[in-house]
């Protein structure tokens, strides 16, 4: 009773105040939006508008030079019947399936090596990071020479130990592995992120493990790796997205032809050819949106399964 009385009197004596908080167009809101406006305009013009146009174009026979006509789902239907489309998907998936896990395994191992308290570690870390600074085209040319079957260094070294090296980029079976090898050269970036992840693991866990009598192997698999899983998760997602969009390396090496025998025809390469060489930008747009759906689905799967294997600290 007394509480009700109190509140009643409180509302009685409260003067009527117009709360502007409920209105959208108050001063601080407008100022905020005005400051954000340049970025929003940029987002709309350079991101949303092209995105929307791209969806629209995928339903037409747009060819950059001509607006083309609306053909509905024809581009998509044609894609599913296109043999090279499926070859390009196979090549891209092959690459992603092998490259991403390998890059994580090698990345984490390399990061562990680079995490040791050895003198000159900063120098070693720099050395391993340097390949990522090489422009992709230069990388492609460099590796073309290294993997040259006639006088490349790789076959030269194999020759010294008595193995006759394959024709690498000239061989159908070895062309994609060569590409995976080349791409693994650039894991320096991921390694830096793993190193940061290592730094995040508190010493207490290791001390506790020591006390419990864990050896190096057990420490790695029961302390380090589980606590590194958030970083691995990040690199897995980014790595998958990047692997599916592989373009510069195979395009430069094969001059856009995907030789030998289409074994290096990757998805984005085929998309590029269709869009810019064959005047079929509508078709290429359809390919782009299919790629979007694929990557989106894979990312969703990775996210969904992440709950089971990613251990966030301090949860």
């Amino acid at each position: 009773m007394r509480v009700a009385q109190l509140t009643k009197s409180a509302t009685d004596t409260q003067p009527l105040v117009l709360t502007k908080k409920s209105s959208f167009f108050n001063k601080s809101n407008i100022t905020g939006w005005l400051f954000a406006l340049p970025w929003i305009i940029g987002l709309i013009i350079f991101y949303v508008f092209p995105l929307g146009s791209s969806i629209y174009f995928s339903f037409t026979t747009y060819s950059i030079l001509q607006p083309g006509e609306f053909v509905g789902l024809d581009n998509y239907k044609e894609l599913f019947k296109d043999k090279i489309f499926w070859i390009s998907i196979y090549n891209t998936v092959y690459f992603a399936v092998f490259f991403v896990p390998l890059s994580i395994i090698f990345g984490v191992s390399l990061a562990m090596l680079l995490n040791m308290k050895v003198k000159g570690m900063a120098l070693y870390r720099t050395i391993f990071f340097l390949p990522t600074l090489v422009p992709h085209v230069a990388l492609a040319v460099l590796w073309m020479w290294l993997l040259n079957p006639g006088f490349g260094l790789v076959n030269g070294m194999l020759d010294m130990i008595g193995i006759q090296g394959p024709a690498w980029l000239g061989s159908e079976t070895w062309s994609k592995p060569s590409l995976i090898l080349m791409s693994l050269w650039g894991i320096g970036q991921a390694v830096i992120i793993y190193l940061a992840g290592f730094g995040d693991i508190p010493e207490e866990f290791y001390e506790a493990a020591e006390v419990d009598g864990a050896n190096w192997f057990q420490k790695t698999f029961y302390v380090t790796l589980p606590l590194l899983t958030p970083v691995i998760f990040f690199n897995l997602v980014m790595g998958t997205i990047g692997a599916f969009q592989q373009f510069t390396l195979p395009y430069t090496m094969t001059n856009g032809q995907g030789t030998p025998a289409n074994s290096l025809t990757f998805y984005v390469m085929y998309l590029y050819d269709n869009g810019f060489k064959f005047f079929k930008m509508g078709y290429a747009s359809a390919m782009a949106w299919i790629l979007f759906v694929i990557i989106m689905a894979l990312t969703a799967v990775i996210f969904l399964t992440s709950k089971r294997w990613v251990h966030y600290q301090g949860k």
């Binding site: 006639g150 006759q164 024709a167 000239g170 030998p260 289409n262 810019f276 060489k277 064959f278």
Partner: protein, 437 residues
């Protein structure tokens, strides 16, 4: 800081930012593409995109120099744009974006596809006014530069393809250097004699049919096939003679193992490292530019040329490509640009360019003037020009080119029989052609 000073400071920063944005927008206009009429010193500046390097660039510079001397009110701004025989993507986006160069050097065989997309200016009127007609050039050059009866480009160079062979190597293995192969069988036999293999590696290869200018186009015509039926407007990649040609290529690949050949070709260089010049390749199909190359890098090479062997040993064929200058749609300085096109395509301009580059002119009289019809090697090239084929002028020229290249890849790698592969390719191109109707 007092409030008014602070506010003034903010105002200054905002106005400077706004001004710089405005200036950036303005200056971009001037820097892009062609200038609007009055460039510097009141001269009309014509932008000319090209992909030339080395000897050809020298030739271009001479032509420009002569042209500017004759036309002091026009300045040619030659911009290197790495286009090439594949579609020039940079040019494509420039045209679509509305700021193309005034003129560009262009692979003549692309004119059909690009014209059908409405991306080139029709220069028939300019040509008619200047007195340039079909008779001014070799017939195939004019045909290639026209689409649906209208002229879209001025042809500038042309070529033909013959079999180059190393006379010294012939003598070495016991072949008669003055009696090169005339039939396919003789060619295969000679190639075998000239090949030296060391395990899986080739020390020397006699002949690689698909190397250099040995595209399916070459062999298809040599075997007597036709790629395009003008009356039905359909591509005939699966012409029986072409299938036969592809079968021969496949058998050749199987005999020598395609991967080993690929290792060999991948390891080869260009320029002075060209395998024909170093003697690692005994015979190859190539064009007149190799003659200049040999003269520059290995003038003492003892070689000869002969028409490409055919199955019957008679009825020799070849095909010609070549370059041209086209005016992209939306070019700004059309009149001045046309003057340069006209000059380059005139006997005078042709003489300067072909004289330096040693590529053939598209004008018969110029070729005679330059001595091409007398030089023992070059006269073989010019002699075969009257029967030379040219690639079909269709809206899907690039697709057809890609398909015939891919067909050789697939067949030599064993991805289906030549008949299957060519049937599929024919369907694909014809379907695409139908869509363009």
């Amino acid at each position: 800081m007092s409030k008014s000073v602070k506010k003034f400071g903010q105002l200054m920063v905002i106005s400077i930012l706004a001004l710089s944005l405005f200036l950036a927008g303005c200056s971009k206009d001037q820097a892009s593409g062609g200038n609007k009429g009055g460039g510097k010193d009141g001269k009309t500046e014509v932008t000319f995109w090209h992909g030339m390097t080395d000897i050809t660039l020298n030739g271009l510079e001479e032509v420009i120099k002569e042209f500017e001397a004759k036309n002091p009110d026009i300045k040619i701004k030659a911009v290197y744009s790495a286009g090439g025989t594949d579609t020039d993507e940079k040019l494509l986006t420039a045209i679509a974006g509305g700021n193309p160069p005034d003129i560009t050097y262009f692979d003549r065989f692309n004119i059909g596809s690009w014209a059908s997309q409405g991306s080139l200016e029709d220069i028939s009127e300019y040509a008619a006014n200047s007195g340039i007609t079909q008779d001014s050039y070799y017939p195939f050059a004019w045909e290639e530069a026209s689409y649906k009866g209208k002229l879209y480009g001025i042809p500038t160079t042309t070529d033909s393809r013959l079999l180059f062979y190393n006379k010294d190597l012939f003598t070495e293995v016991g072949l008669d250097p003055e009696n090169p192969p005339k039939t396919i069988d003789e060619l295969t036999a000679a190639a075998e004699k000239l090949t030296i293999k060391d395990g899986n590696r080739f020390k020397r290869i006699g002949f690689i049919p698909w190397y250099g200018q040995g595209q399916l186009y070459t062999w298809g015509w040599v075997f007597g096939g036709e790629f395009y039926d003008k009356s039905t407007d359909k591509v005939t990649l699966n012409d029986p003679k072409i299938v036969e040609a592809l079968q021969w290529l496949t058998d050749y690949a199987n005999k020598y193992n395609i991967e080993n050949i690929a290792s060999f070709t991948d390891s080869q260089g260009s320029g002075d490292m060209d395998p024909f010049l170093t003697g690692q390749l005994a015979m190859q199909i190539s064009g007149p530019w190799t003659v200049s190359s040999i003269q520059k890098y290995k003038p003492d090479l003892n070689y000869g040329v002969t028409p490409i062997p055919t199955p019957t040993g008679t009825d020799f064929q070849t095909w010609s490509g070549g370059w041209s200058i086209v005016m992209p749609k939306g070019a700004k300085n059309k009149d001045a640009a046309w003057k340069f096109m006209e000059f380059f395509g005139s006997p005078e301009g042709q003489k300067i360019f072909s004289g330096i580059v040693r590529d053939f002119s598209v004008i018969e009289s110029v070729n005679a003037d330059l001595g091409f019809t007398e030089d023992p090697i070059l006269k073989e090239f010019t002699a075969i020009l009257p029967v030379s084929h040219y690639r079909p002028v269709i809206p899907e020229g690039n697709l057809l080119w890609n398909e015939q290249t891919a067909a050789v890849e697939k067949a030599t790698r064993g991805k289906g029989t030549p008949q299957e592969i060519l049937d599929e390719a024919t369907d694909k191109v014809n379907k695409a052609l139908e869509k363009k109707q």
